[in-house]
Amino acid sequence: MAVDMRLPSVRKQVTDSLLSATTGKHLVVPGDVITSDTGFMRGHGTYMDEEKLTASVAGEVERVNKLICVRPLKTRFNGEVGDVVVGRITEVQQKRWKVETNSRLDSVLLLSSVNLPGGELRRRSAEDELTMRHYLQEGDLISAEVQSVFSDGALSLHTRSLKYGKLGQGVLVQVSPSLVKRQKTHFHNLTCGASIILGNNGYVWLYPTPGQQDEEAGGYYTSMEPVSLSDREVISRLRNCLLALAAHKVLLYDTSVLYCYESSLSHQIKDILKPEVMEEIVMETRQRLMDQEG
């Protein structure tokens, strides 16, 4: 039994000049004038206010030739073809599933773009349509890839690879999509003993590293065997580390997560989320990341 009660602490003020001096980034909040030069084009996250280009979201200014955009820090997911996403089934419809992927509109997963048990070249029969809920039902989590983007921004997903499919036992952590670093691979077997899927949409899935995979099931078989306590400890620690990193706006990728995990080892798992512990381990992680970059 433990209760930790305290007075709230005032967040430390980081002066704007110091921040942009160290990172070299142009950071803005809504209403900030980016430029009063009329020679620029208005991109996402900006608007014209009395002939001045003004930010409409809080984030970093990006310039491509004459086009000025603001990339927001906190946002919904703007999918691109090839992005790895983790999502939750919200609806089963005619020949398709609706998937919640943290985008502005629900994504669709067509029955024709999933791998059904029984091999690659199987015809989808009417029977398959009737047993769709048998494969994926409301509330189930999946990992998938963005196949195409519709004109209204909604995403079409596919799971036509054995690495995608239904997710089994594990923990979902939700962070802002802008905190997930784009990388060659978003599936990692971390050396600390658990696996991680860093979805581009800000949904991160932590799960025990699987043994050998059963190819026949086509990714739709989930084990309900209890996860061992040691695996659980690692996953819980990773979960709290991810939240700590996200709270301090550190980019998430395999190295940062692993460094944070290692610096948290001196603390108990449940203590990681206390503000002072969180600050300490994130500081340590940042330092190590900087040392590594040189």
């Binding site: 039994m1 939750r88 108990q268």
Partner: protein
């Protein structure tokens, strides 16, 4: 109530975790999340408090007004509760969506707090049968992440501790008419004795065990929960079962015992924080909502 969707495999993972006494966020079954308490956050109330428990945020404001005592008990003041479920907490509360939950919460709070064993209601009486203080307790849910009852009860206790009621003098003129005079000095006020004000502990039955301070995810895996209000001395003042599932007598007994132990331990750190905050007085840096 704000609900979340959970897949079967996630449920299994959470339930096995509770069985092993290691929850998803690393806590044991009887651990609370990190809690932050601040009082005197709303200037136009007589007492207020804001409590943050994980991602659950509640704000409580107390206003004292002079009213007529209830006809059944003429020598006591009383408390009125109103719970506002802000649509900020979850879009489900938009429009009239939060009304049902709000009524349920305020009815429970009324049962737990509005009795002479919890608060000295006699002290709120000004002149028997004619005038008494009515404390309007307004609860605002700003964010929901499970365990609303515990957070609200802690916030109410903190706000009651923070409440200052102006002193009044009754003067009688020759014809026997009474007149109430409010003291001009804003510091001339009385405070409430919060010694016997209980805190609510919610125990959720997950699998074969029970957990305190359940998150929304854990709540989704539990069939039924038990509310237990416990005072500083460990006296149980109210027990209520919520949720659709059933509990067998044996587990109710176990849960009451846990609730008693946990509830009793909740008061000491709470009073410590409140005393500490008060001793800081002017030196205290107010954090409020933007800090």
């Amino acid at each position: 109530m704000a609900t979340v969707q959970v897949s079967e495999a996630e449920k299994v993972y959470i339930m096995h975790g509770v069985r092993d006494d290691l929850r998803v966020d690393g806590r044991g079954c009887e651990d609370y999340r990190h809690m932050e308490i601040e009082t005197d956050v709303v200037s136009n109330t007589d007492g207020s408090a804001k409590v943050t428990l994980g991602h659950t945020v509640v704000l409580v404001g107390i206003k004292a007004e002079i009213g007529k005592p209830k006809p059944m008990v003429t020598d006591e003041g009383y408390l009125e509760f109103f719970v506002d479920c802000s649509a900020n907490a979850t879009p489900e509360f938009e429009g009239r969506g939060g009304e049902e939950l709000g009524t349920e919460l305020s009815n429970t709070l009324y049962k737990v707090f509005n009795n002479r064993n919890s608060i000295d209601l006699r002290g709120l009486c000004i002149s028997p049968g004619e005038h008494c203080w009515v404390l309007y307790v307004d609860v605002l849910l700003l964010q929901c992440d499970g365990n609303l009852f515990d957070a609200i009860s802690v916030a109410i206790k903190a706000a009651l501790f923070n409440t200052r009621i102006p002193k009044v003098h009754i003067s009688e003129d020759e014809e026997g008419g009474k007149e109430i005079e409010l003291s001009d000095d804003p510091y001339d006020c009385m405070r409430l004795n919060v010694e016997n004000v209980p805190c609510i502990v919610t125990l959720c039955k997950v699998g074969h065990r029970h957990v305190v301070d359940a998150t929304l995810l854990e709540k989704a895996c539990s069939v039924a929960s038990l509310l237990i209000s416990v005072t500083q001395r460990g006296t149980v003042t109210c027990v209520r079962k919520v949720g659709g599932g059933s509990l067998d007598p044996e587990s109710i007994f176990e849960m009451t015992e846990t609730g008693k132990r946990v509830g009793k331990a909740l008061h000491a750190p709470l009073m410590e924080v409140l005393q500490k905050e008060e001793s800081l007085e002017k030196k205290r840096q107010k954090v409020g909502f933007l800090g």
